[in-house]
Structures are given as structure tokens and as C-alpha cells.
């Protein structure tokens, strides 16, 4: 069996390699290499400051991957486990290095997205269409010039939306896109960037998503004899979704050192919650309507290359309406309103060429009001005094101090300490306030690069990175105050991370190309592990390769884990600081780009994660030292893409991706009754991009020229083999499904 497996795999490799000769794209270098100088500087500096380079997916890669939302894309990162309840509207959250989804912070254009109620951000709601870049930092962003709060989470996902780029003489960019797909998916998207003055620009983006969410799923079990025990196919119900997203951004680069920007975001949706499929229950009646709105501003400047300041402000207003009129259950109808005000001030001083120091202070105010509409209704009917909604408040303060030392790039070190103080308060006297002592959490990062200045550096790079970090995950309003489950005496959950990483990068020839203009989608996309925005030359028929490989080992420990625990009578639960988890893991990844003759490029991206995350709470538990729920020991992904660029600059690409999540357990005990099978999906996409108006060849980059209009078409087939699988037990995932996209860009 095993030998046969190897042979078959070998055969597959041969097939894949034999396939190249079809179509590939080489970065088109004849186009636009230049962007506004100020931004290049800022970006470059930021990159240089990163001690440990994050995992990155850029817009061009995101377009190639079979991914509809940010959650789908994050599956391609190593060390990440996605919880996916299925379908377009199903909740999708991620868990980085097994520490729990609430240890992962998600930032939208640099400001954290919050949900004070349950601490989870549904990443299925964030569209990739407006995304320029997704980055995952383990530990923290290792650039010390950041807001205080950014030092606070164990894992950080940064979502960066498209920034406007204009070539000389350009005033307007616009794009329009239509996507159709399985489950009744209709997803139009329009957007425009307008240059108002030289430094001031406006971006607009709007998107509508509709899906009926019905898809067939199958449950089948066999007897030990191999005979079918049962085999049934049903249609997923109540999975419909309607959502509208609108965004507006104003960016002003007023000098070579400073800029400000303002970003408004509004998301409205209504959806069904399809629920668990259990014996005799094939549909569920829960519904959710919500609106998430926020406005955030950023101002940043630098003086005499010594002092940098960044100010962030945000106001968010989120409304959620949940109701369930399933006639088999008791009805529920609740409204929630959350508000958030956030202020951040960060400063960095460059003391000497090799020594930076930063200090930042953040403040955040959260409020949650919850109203039981059924109760209000009954009180009105009975002419009773209508109770005002329950309200909870939180004031949070973060103060950080950090320092970074750079010994001629050979050795970089950073140390940070964060003080966090969180106070919660309820409106009525019945709700106890919490006032914890401020908590201090340190973080230490370092990176050793022996070839930093050697002559071969540009072809080879080797780095050894390591970090240690502590972080707290604070109890949410639900943990503290939820009717049955609340417990105002909760302490924050502590995560301690230790990580060592070895990264190596090699390329075939020195071929440094200047940073490409972001709007040029042909720019090299594979985020290489060394973080240099350098793409191999694809000019003419030059051949070459880029390879980066890295492996990280980590040991994490989560203590005082907040878990739901039965209170003893009926089904009443409470939240307790009861839980301790030990996590050992290895993340390995490899990226290879081969630049082949005839303008073909073959890109591969491999990720593999091995994790043991065991419960070490109490030796007398039946699940002591068992793997915690939904953490597979093995998981990984493989992406192979072949691209081709024609002489006139048209691109074609074929992409294949494979995602594997190994066997897991749905509950704490690793028994046969809790066993969940591995799942793996094969996805394919095929795309083409055509310039509708030809460009004058040989035009100077700085001269005014006509902008081309690009047409792009993409077809994706997901779960190619139609595997019936579940990520979360009793939440069946879709079988084979298709999406088609047509986009026009100007």
C-alpha cells in the first residue's frame, strides 16, 4: 500500500511537470514600474523594520486562488486552522497555532476589528475583491512602530485594502466586476479611484452578495462488513445571504514624509443560520440581520528621520438582530447594539542609526446593549413597565514601550512590553463591575542573518528568527455577563509563545527590479519568505527561479483558559478559568517560482503544519493529554499555478490547489465516538486577462500615455471531486461548486 502510494504520487508529479507547456504568465515589465515616491519610501521602511517576515498573500495571488472571502484565503497559510460552518453565509473564524480564535486579532487597514460581545471576527464577511494584501504575523508585527494594542494579541491578521496608484497624468481608475456561482451566488462589485489633487485621492468600492445557499450534502455510513448502513442526500436549508458592502477612502500624501487617510466602511447583511444537521432535524429557523459600520482615520508623519508619529481614531457602530421563530423551539428575538471608540497615539524615535525606541498609548471604549424583543412585547401587552435594555461598558487602556536594535542587519532585536488595563461595567447594580490589576506582557524578537552584507546576499539569504511572547485574551461581554453563562470573576486567558524559525531563500540570478506599481496586476506575486519586494526578471525569454523555504518550531502554552463549565443544575453553564493547553508545532513552507522560456511561469506554494495541542488541565480527566477539539495533527496545502503572458501582454493562468486537514476529534476525549475524518479538497481555476486597447510600445514610462482597459475572466471549480466533508461536525460542507467572474478594469 505504502509503496504503491509513492509510485502514484511520483506519477502525479510527472503529470504536473508535464503540464507546463500550456500557459503561463511572466511579469510584464514593459509596463509601469513607478509609483508615487512617498509611498515607496514608507513601504520600504516598514519592510525593513520587520524582524520576522509575515506570511503574505498579495492581490495577484488572491485572484489566482480559489477563494471568495478572506477566510478562504487564510487556509493557505501554515499554522492556521479555519472553522467553517459551511456555505457562503456560514461563520468562518480562524485559530492560529491552536491558541483559540479569540487570541487572533484582525486588523482592517491597521485598526483592529472588534467584537466585544463574543470576541470573534467572522472572516467570511470580508471580500477579497477590494483586498491588496493579507498578512499573518505570528506573535506580533515585529515593527516597533505600531499602536499599543497591536502588541496585545497572540496572532495577527492584517487586511489591507487597495490603495490608489496613479501614473503620471492619470486621474481616474475604475473597475467593475460580476461574479456568478453555485448556491445562487450573484456578486457584483464596482469601484473607482479618483485623483483629486497631486497628493489627494479618493477610493470607492461597493459590493453586493446574494446567495440562496441551498446545496446538496450527503451522509453515508457503512457497516463493518462494507454494506451500506445508510446513505442519504439532502439540501442545506436556511443558508441564504444578502449583503451589501460599501467603502469610501480618502488618502492624502501631503509631503514626502507624511500622509493622512480616512476610511469609511459599511456592511449590511441578512442571513439564515443553517444550523447543525442532527437526527430528524434537517432545517433550522435561526436568522440574523446585522450592520457593521465604522469610520477610521490615520495620520502619520516623520521629522528629520528621527521622529515618527502615528495617530489612529475609529468609531464603530454594530447592530445585530437575531431571531428564531422555529415552531419546534421556544421563540427568541434579540437585538444587540455595540459601539466602539478607539484612539491611538504612537511615537518612534530613532536614537542612533541602529537603535529605535517607541512608545504608544491606546484607549478604547466599548458598549453593548442587549434587548429581548419578546420580553418587551410581552411587557407592553401586559401594560407593564418596559425594561430598558441590558447595557455593558468597557474601558480599555494599553500602553506599550518597545525598542529595536539593528546590528548592521546581521542581527536585529526587538523587545516590547505592554501594559493592559480593562475595566468592565454593567448598567444595573446586579451586574458586577470588574477591575483587574493592569497586566504586563513582554515580547522579545530577534533575527540573525549571516549573509546580510555578503556579496552573495542578493542571491542567497538565510535567516534564523526567534521570539518569545506573552499575551492575554480578555473575557468578552458574553463570557462575563451572558444570562446563564456569565461569570464576572473571570481572569484573562494567558498565552505564552516560543518560536524558532529558519528561513532560506535563493534565486537564480541577480535581477532586482524596482517595486512595481500596485495597480499592475502582473507584478510578481509570490510573497517570498525573506520579504524583499524583488521579483526575478521575466523579460524576454530569460529563465530563472526563486525558491524560499522555511520551517518553524513553536511551543505555546495557554493557561487559565476560559471554558464553559456546567453549573450543576439542569443545563446551566458558567464560564471558568479552567483549562490548560500545551501546544507543540512545526510549520514548514516552500515557495518556488520557475521562470520558463516562452514567458511561462510556474509557481508553487506548499505549506505543512504539524501540531499537537494537548489538554493538560487535570490528570484525572478522561481526556488528559488528549488533542484538543478540532485541531488536526497534520494539515497543509499545495498550490501549483502556471501562467503565460502573450507578446501583447495578455495573461493566462491555470491554478490548482489542494487543501488537507487531517483527522481530528470533535470533543475533548479522543475516542472513536468523537473522531472526525480528514478532509481534503481539490480546487482549480482558469483565468485570462486581456488588454482591450493596445498600448503604444516603447513609450517612455514618464510620458503620458493611454491607459489600457483590461478585461479579465476567471472560472473556479471548488471541491473538484465533490468530497462530502465536514469541518465542524454536523455542519456539512458543499460538494463541487463553481464560480465565474468577469471583470473590467480601467
Amino acid at each position: 500500500m505504502r509503496i504503491k502510494g509513492y509510485i502514484l504520487a511520483g506519477l502525479l508529479c510527472v503529470c504536473v511537470t508535464g503540464m507546463h507547456a500550456q500557459d503561463v504568465a511572466v511579469p510584464d515589465t514593459a509596463d509601469t514600474r513607478h509609483r508615487e515616491m512617498d509611498e515607496v519610501t514608507i513601504t520600504a521602511r516598514a519592510l525593513e523594520k520587520d524582524v520576522i517576515v509575515p506570511q503574505t498573500l498579495k492581490a495577484e495571488e488572491l485572484e489566482r486562488l480559489n477563494a471568495l472571502s478572506v477566510a478562504d484565503a487564510l487556509r493557505y497559510f501554515s499554522g492556521v486552522q479555519l472553522k467553517d460552518y459551511g456555505g457562503v453565509g456560514g461563520i468562518k473564524t480562524i485559530n492560529v497555532r491552536s491558541m483559540g480564535s479569540q487570541h487572533t486579532a484582525v486588523y482592517y487597514n491597521g485598526v483592529q476589528l472588534g467584537n466585544a460581545q463574543n470576541g470573534q471576527v467572522d472572516l467570511g464577511r470580508f471580500s477579497l475583491d477590494n483586498m491588496e494584501e493579507i498578512q499573518l504575523y505570528n506573535g506580533q508585527k515585529s515593527d516597533i512602530f505600531q499602536s499599543a494594542r497591536e502588541f496585545g494579541a497572540a496572532g495577527n491578521v492584517y487586511l489591507t485594502t487597495r490603495k490608489p496608484y496613479f501614473r503620471k497624468g492619470e486621474k481616474v481608475h475604475a473597475h467593475g466586476q460580476m461574479r456568478f456561482g453555485s448556491f445562487g451566488l450573484a456578486n457584483p462589485n464596482v469601484g473607482a479611484d479618483v485623483r483629486l489633487t497631486d497628493g489627494l485621492s479618493l477610493t470607492m468600492d461597493a459590493e453586493y452578495v446574494h446567495a440562496h445557499g441551498r446545496y446538496p450534502f450527503r451522509y453515508r455510513r457503512v457497516l463493518p462488513t462494507g454494506e451500506t448502513a445508510y446513505d442519504t442526500t439532502a439540501i442545506r436549508q436556511n443558508g441564504d445571504v444578502n449583503a451589501v458592502r460599501t467603502e469610501l477612502g480618502l488618502h492624502h500624501y501631503y509631503s514626502t514624509t507624511g500622509f493622512w487617510r480616512l476610511h469609511g466602511y459599511n456592511y449590511w447583511s441578512e442571513r439564515g443560520i443553517p444550523g447543525a444537521i442532527v437526527n430528524n432535524v434537517w432545517r433550522n429557523g435561526e436568522r440574523l440581520r446585522d450592520r457593521n459600520s465604522f469610520v477610521q482615520g490615520q495620520w502619520q508623519d516623520r521629522w528629520r528621520n528621527r521622529w515618527q508619529t502615528r495617530v489612529l481614531v475609529k468609531y464603530a457602530n454594530d447592530y445585530t438582530h437575531y431571531w428564531n421563530y422555529d415552531d419546534k423551539l421556544l421563540p427568541a428575538d434579540n437585538e444587540y447594539l455595540q459601539q466602539e471608540v478607539y484612539l491611538s497615539l504612537a511615537n518612534q524615535v530613532t536614537i542612533t542609526k541602529w537603535w529605535d525606541v517607541s512608545v504608544a498609548y491606546d484607549y478604547q471604549y466599548n458598549s453593548l446593549a442587549r434587548e429581548n424583543l419578546l420580553l418587551v412585547e410581552s411587557q407592553k401587552t401586559a401594560s407593564l413597565k418596559v425594561e430598558s435594555p441590558e447595557r455593558y461598558y468597557r474601558h480599555s487602556h494599553w500602553l506599550s514601550a518597545a525598542t529595536a536594535i539593528n546590528v548592521k542587519d546581521y542581527l536585529r532585536m526587538q523587545a516590547s512590553v505592554l501594559m493592559t488595563a480593562v475595566n468592565n461595567k454593567g448598567q444595573s447594580d446586579q451586574v458586577p463591575s470588574t477591575k483587574d490589576k493592569p497586566k504586563f506582557t513582554p515580547g522579545v524578537f530577534f533575527s540573525l542573518r549571516p549573509f546580510a552584507h555578503s556579496s552573495i546576499r542578493s542571491l542567497y539569504d538565510l535567516s534564523l528568527n526567534a521570539f518569545y511572547k506573552q499575551s492575554y485574551r480578555y473575557p468578552t461581554f458574553n463570557d462575563l455577563y451572558y444570562t446563564d453563562m456569565g461569570n464576572a470573576n473571570l481572569r484573562p486567558e494567558l498565552a505564552r509563545q516560543h518560536s524558532v524559525e529558519l528561513a532560506y531563500r535563493v534565486e537564480s540570478q541577480k535581477s532586482k527590479v524596482e517595486s512595481r506599481v500596485g495597480y499592475d496586476r502582473s507584478a510578481s506575486g509570490v510573497g517570498n519568505a525573506c520579504g524583499y519586494d524583488r521579483s526575478a526578471s521575466g523579460v524576454g525569454n530569460a529563465c530563472g527561479y526563486e525558491l524560499s523555504v522555511s520551517a518553524a518550531y513553536y511551543y505555546n502554552r495557554v493557561t487559565d483558559k476560559i471554558i464553559a463549565y456546567p453549573k450543576g443544575q439542569q443545563f446551566r453553564w458558567t464560564m471558568l478559568n479552567l483549562g490548560e493547553v500545551k501546544i507543540n508545532g512545526v510549520d514548514a513552507k516552500a515557495d518556488l517560482s520557475l521562470y520558463l522560456p516562452l514567458q511561462f511561469v510556474l509557481r508553487t506554494r506548499l505549506n505543512y503544519t504539524y501540531q499537537t495541542a494537548i489538554d493538560v488541565t487535570n490528570p484525572s480527566d478522561t481526556y488528559y493529554r488528549h488533542q484538543i477539539p478540532y485541531i488536526p495533527r497534520h494539515s497543509g496545502s499545495a498550490v501549483v499555478g502556471l501562467e503565460w503572458t502573450s507578446r501583447r501582454g495578455d495573461h493566462y493562468g491555470l491554478n490548482y490547489s489542494f487543501i488537507y486537514v487531517g483527522e481530528r476529534y470533535s470533543q475533548q476525549e479522543n475516542t472513536v465516538y468523537n473522531y472526525v475524518q480528514p478532509w481534503y479538497t481539490h480546487d482549480m481555476s482558469l483565468y485570462g486577462e486581456w488588454a482591450l486597447s493596445s498600448q503604444p510600445s516603447g513609450a517612455s514610462e514618464h510620458s503620458e500615455k493611454r491607459q489600457p482597459v483590461w478585461l479579465k475572466a476567471n472560472i473556479e471549480i471548488n471541491n473538484l471531486l465533490g468530497q462530502d466533508y465536514e469541518v465542524i461536525q454536523n455542519y456539512p460542507m458543499p460538494k463541487q461548486n463553481v464560480r465565474c467572474t468577469v471583470a473590467v478594469r480601467y
Partner: protein, 633 residues
Amino acid sequence: MHSSSKILNRVVGRWSLVVGLCVLLFSSCRTDEVVYPTIGTHVTDQVGTGGLYILCEGNMGSNKARLDYMNLRTGDYYTNWYGAQNPTQLKELGDVGNDVQQYGGRLYAVINCSHKVEVMDLRARHIGQIDIPNCRYLAFHGDKLYVSAYVGSVASPDLLGAVYEIDTASLQITREVRVGHQPDELQVVEDRLYVCNSGGYLTDRYDSTVSVIDLGSFTELRKIPVGLNPTRLRVDRQQRMWVCCQGDYKQRKPEVVVLENEQVVHHMEMPCANIAIHGGTAAILNGEDKELVLYATADYSEQARWSLAGYEHPYGLLLTDEGVYLTDAKNYVSSGVLHCYRYDGQEQWHTLTGDIPGHLCHVTGEYELHGDTAQQDTATHSPYITRVYEYLPGMGQFVNVLPKYEEGDDREAMCRKCEAAIAGNAGGVVSLGGWGGYITFGFDHAVQNGEGRDLQILGNAYRMTGSEIYGSSEPGIVLVSRDDNRNGLPDDTWYELKGCLYADPETRHDYSRTYTRAGDTLQNPFHQQPYYPQWLTEDSYTLRGALLPTQTETINGQVVQRILDYGYADNRPNTDTPGTSFDLSWAIDANGNPISLPYVDFVRVYTAVDETHSPIGELSTEITGAVDLGVGR
């Protein structure tokens, strides 16, 4: 037995390329989902009468309601018993079990979040189901079943619950009556039905009444005020009702209220998570202080007070003639524990259960758990094995496990364990281990050589999906013997039943193997126990017999065997009755000459292949039972 292969390595054959890649990368692939197994464990030698069903609730949304069974007559505990009886039930028993009771010859279980009452025979074989939304508890009277439910068949604007009346013959709902908020336990006393209205979902507005329903008109007569949030209601032999009120978990303390003639006659302020009444004893489980208090129902006097300090969450409770059964629900999301005590407080035994063992039902009366009473000639003979005389397996990965060897066991003890596994219709498994390993068994009568096939021997062979000729076949040769010396022991001449490979030129009739304790080095990572029979006092033993040529091939990455035509045990699936049956007329002597045996007293089976394959381990014949086809013929 193939170790991992039977469960894990049923590879999706069509996509061999893909399979190859993921074998390379990750070593574990998705396979056919096999139904959840039933695992039997011998818990105690202190046996009693009847059986005990344990309904484990399972956490909401997990679909893990599980009906376990404790055979009190043998002391064996079986997990997922319902699953074993009803493997074809779509999505198993369901989501959140809430009550289980015996009534007449049937067993009824309420599966709350599957909105149904499951109706079974006393062996837990599915008979039917009654769909009732959000059903909670059961009561019986005459030919009617009464079920409380949090919602009525038509949604009520004031969120009132209902009680449904069901005809037990047709399993149809006949009548329905509105009661209070979230009705829980209910009881029939004479011609009236009493149900406690908890209001448990209405935080701060709990209900506090017991509804009285006239069974004739099926209408609510009145509501008796009791304490706040009543959830449990039991009747003692004086026809008084004990009602457990949970209070509001804040200011209002929990209490137990006793009603007689619909009047409150007694009141005790104490937490009562659960209550059970048997004879003149009422046991009240105080979940908060982790105590069980036993009262005399006659005068409410306290008889005993047991500390349950070692419990995490004492939960289910049942009293029988023989003892007190109490469960610990632990953290509600992992295995619970079932404890059995004598009335003097002495613990008899305990065993692990499913998640949240909440509801217990002692099944008594005339029911035959093993075997179908309707068909067999029970008056004279059992068609099943009654006795195991010898058991000596070849070294193998399931030796000391199937059956389980425990310190101190000798040959005799192992034979008794084999009986526990395969005698009667127990359906357990005995592994004969590597080549030559054997078992000798008999019946409570001699097996007659009648017309056609006489004896069926059951194993665990199966066909590969979609294939007629390949599968898991681990053939064992069958020998038979007559008790010619009349000493009742299998020490007489053995005759082989001639199978299809007897004359095959590759069959070796003079094969032997010597197994040594020293040679017991770990081979298969899935099975790390010693492979040498631990009950043997000698350090080596030699087995002799015939070796069949290998039938093993690899197909689509799966190690399988070509299924043999006839004449071997554990070669064909049990569903293939002719293929698993033997004719005593096939018997031959040592020289291969046919011999006529009018009957046999002993049957011996030994593993006839000597093969080990990665990753499945060695092939070994397994026996799961035998049937004398002549009984009742």
C-alpha cells in the same frame, strides 16, 4: 484481523493519483465512514437481574445521544447498544436524550432536540418513532403514552407547553392539551395526569405550578401551586407526589414539596437535582452539596446520607431492588461514569458511559436479549455455542485483547472469557491470532449431520465494496470430533472438514510453527500489548496443521484477499449463510478419506494462513459465534 484496515484504510479507489499524493504527504486519507462501534466490557462479577439502559444525553447539536446497555446478569457493559441494534438508523439515535422508560414489552426514549420519541423493543431494536416538537418526559397509562413538550403542535403566543397523548398501538398522537410554561416530568395517578410547569426558559419569570389534567376529557382541571421552577415529579406507593422545585438560582431556594390529594402535605428546603422512589425509599440527589439523601416515604424520616464528594456533577439516579445507580456527568462534554451501590452505601462497581449519562431504565420481565425468542427451539436446545473448551491463539496483534487477558487469568479463565464473547448470541469477537491458533467449542447437544449444511460459523470477513471476489478473508480450517470416550472432553480423534483448497498443490498439510515468549517483539504500532498468550506458563509452544496458499493481493492500494469458494471459517461475510456454513459430510480422516459422522460433539477452528502485511498486521481468523442449523429444523 486487519487492524487499521477495517476502519481506516477503506480507500476511495477511483482517484488513485490523488490517493497516492495524499498517502505520500500525509499518510492518512478519508475513508468510508463506518457506523459507530459498540464496545463491550466486562465490568463486574457481581451480577444481578435484568438489564439497565443508560441514555446518555450528549451535548446539544452534537447528535451524540447514546443508549448504552448494562447486562446485569453477566456484568457486561455495552456502549452504543442502540447503534449495534439499529446500524441503519439515519444519523443514529439523535440529539440530546431526555428520558428512557420501559412500558410493557417496549422501551421508549425521548430525544429532545431530535423532536421525537423513539420506540423500541426491549432489545432496543427500532419499532417506530413519534414526532413531537421539543419533547421532554414520558408517562404511561393503559394503552396510552403521555409526553410533555415545551411547545404545542401550534405555536402559542404565550409560549405555553403541552402534553400529548399517544396511542401505543398505532403510535399516533390522539389528543393534546395546553399546560403551563416548559412542562417537564409528569405522572399519572388514577385517572389524572400531573405535570410540573417549570418555566425553566423564562429567567426571572419561572413557573411554579403542577397542572392537573383529567384523562377522560383531556383538559386541564386546575393548577396546584408548588415551589418555584418545578422540574421533577415522582409518585410514592402512598400515591403522594414528590415535586422538586429548583428555585431561581438566586434568592429563591430550591425545595421539595410533597402533595397528597392535590394538597401540599410536606415541604423540605433542599436542592433536588434528581429524585428516585422505590418501595418505601425516596432518594434525593442534592447536586449542590453533592449528597444523596435517602428518606422513608412513610414519615419523611432520613434513613441515610451519602457523600458524593468524589463526583464532579452527580446527575442520573435510579433505585431498584438490587441497589442504587448514580451517574456522574463530569464536565457534560466527556464520558460520564455509572456507579452501582448497595443500599448500605457500599459501591459495587462503576464504569465509563457516554456523554451526560442522565437517564436510567431497569429492564425486567420476560425478554431474551441474546437470540430471538420467537424462532428458536429454546425448550430443548440452544442453536448457539454454550461451551468453549480450549483456546490457544497463535501470536498476534489481538492476542491478550480479544478476549482481554487480565493478570491472573489461566487457560480456564480465558475459555470463560471466550464464552462471554461468543457463546449464546453475544456477538463478541475471539481472535485466533497467527497461524495455527485455535479454539474448541461445543453446544448443549451434539450437532447432527442432517440434510445439507449443518453448522454455521460466524466471523468478521467482508467483501470489498463493489467486489464479489475480493475482501477481507482470514480463513480458518474447521475440525470436528465426537466424544467417543464419553468423558465430555475434546480429547478424541479430529476430522477436518474438507474445504476447496484441500487438494490445492500449494496447500501444505505438514506445516508447523513454534511461538516463543522471547520472540514477542513489538511489530504493529496500533497494538502494543504483548502478542504472546500471557496466560501460558510455558515459554514456547508448537502448533501443527495445514497452511493454505496466500490469496492476498493489493487492489487500489488496499490489501485484500481473494474470497475462497467454500469450506473455511471467517472467509465470507456472515450475511452469506451458505458460504459460512459447513456440512458434516465434508469430514475426512487423516489420510484424506471421507468419513461418515452422524453427529459431532466438538468443533475446532484454527487460523490456516501465515501472513503479515503492512500496515494491517498478520491475518488471523476471528470467530464471533456459531449456529447449529439443525436446531428447530
